[in-house]
């Protein structure tokens, strides 16, 4: 083992004594630096960096692809939501129309029935009124007869004889009219 120029602290200021400035060691250092650095560069350029860079790029692509897919799925979901809303509002308006129509129809039917009933009732009422008025006029003619009979009877009791029929009924008529 060849020892290079060994130095002590007292030789630090001597020519080439400071270890980093000992030129006889330069060749060895440069040689091994070249060998190791070249090996490292080759390894990084050909093996390690393509591998690591590849997986990072692959992941990046995968994430981008997944994101695109997710955006597409979201758009699809939004479109489906819109279609659902449209279908819902359509169904709503249709059901409203059906309800209104049914309401209209039922109302018309009810109205017709009511009118029929009204007419029948009015007819019955008119008939009843007619009966009442007939009964009333009949009753009124009877009142004259009764009044004449009563006046006749009263006069017979008071006067003691039968008064002339015509005069009594004329007097009753005027009294009833007055």
């Amino acid at each position: 083992m060849a020892e290079p120029v060994t130095t002590g602290a007292e030789a630090a200021h001597g020519g080439g004594a400071f270890p980093p400035f000992q030129s006889e060691t330069f060749a060895s250092q440069l040689f091994w630096l070249a060998v190791t650095f070249a090996l490292l560069y080759w390894f990084l350029a050909k093996v390690a960096l393509p591998r690591i860079g590849g997986i990072i790029a692959l992941r990046h692509d995968k994430i981008q692809g997944d994101l695109r897919e997710a955006i597409a799925a979201k758009k699809e979901a939004e479109a489906a939501g819109l279609a659902y809303e449209a279908a819902l509002s359509d169904a709503k308006s249709r059901s409203q129309a059906i309800a209104a129509e049914t309401h209209q129809r039922l109302k018309a039917e009810t109205d017709a029935k009511r009118r029929e009933l009204d007419a029948a009732l009015a007819e019955k009422l008119a008939a009843a009124e007619k009966v009442i008025s007939e009964t009333k006029s009949a009753a009124l003619t009877h009142v004259e007869g009764i009044a004449t009979d009563t006046a006749d009877a009263i006069l017979q009791r008071v006067l003691g004889n039968k008064p002339p029929q015509e005069q009594v009924s004329a007097a009753v008529k005027t009294a009833l009219k007055g």
Binding site: E3, T7, A9, F18, Q29, F31, T36, L39, L44
Partner: protein, 249 residues
Amino acid sequence: MASPTEQFQIKPLSGPLFHVSESPIHFTNSAAFMVAAVGIVMVFLLLTSSQRSMVPGRLQSLGEMLYEFVANTVRQSAGKDGMVFLPFVFSLFSFILMANVLGLLPYAFTVTSQIVVTGALSLLVIGVVIVYGFAKHGVGFLKLFVPSGVPGWLLPLLVAVEVVSFLSRPISLAVRLFANMLAGHIALKIFAGFVTILLAQGFLAILSPLPLIFTVALTALEVLVAVLQAYVFAVLTSIYLHDALHPGH
């Protein structure tokens, strides 16, 4: 107590393997830590990328975080077309980071505390910038030194300034990393040395916890510096590569 600079001593672990223009090549402690740093980075990245699952586990997340971190640094500083340099910047970052952090272990050797290593790495960066710049833009790369929208009489001065600033880049890049590692380790060594010195001074030994506490705090700081300097080197490399890609300001 050993000299604070002894930790930077290159020690051959083998005899001369062969000679390159009269200089013997040894397998040294420095080489061992370079191999260890590269080996750890390689094993770590192999483990973290072996699963390749769509939903990453803990280890895979760690590897991917490191990848994203360096990739973002390159993307922000060098631009999108700078991503061709990702393996280069990743190599620099992981090598320097691992060398710095391994150097913090007790008895370990810090590869990046050697000016020849940091200098070689920074010259490599500037070399890549110059070669790529000329290869891509031809003479147009020289537009890097000609700021646009400057009055003609000021141009020679500004070109000179730009050239000097360009030439000082490799120096500052190399010296920044080298000096940070060197100074941090020397400071650690000196404060740790105070503990043993004080312990040998009789009643003054009661003061020895003070430098110990300081050493612990300094170690935490050095961890920060180790990571930060690797990041700074990677960011500056990315910025210089941006110049090679887009020489016009």
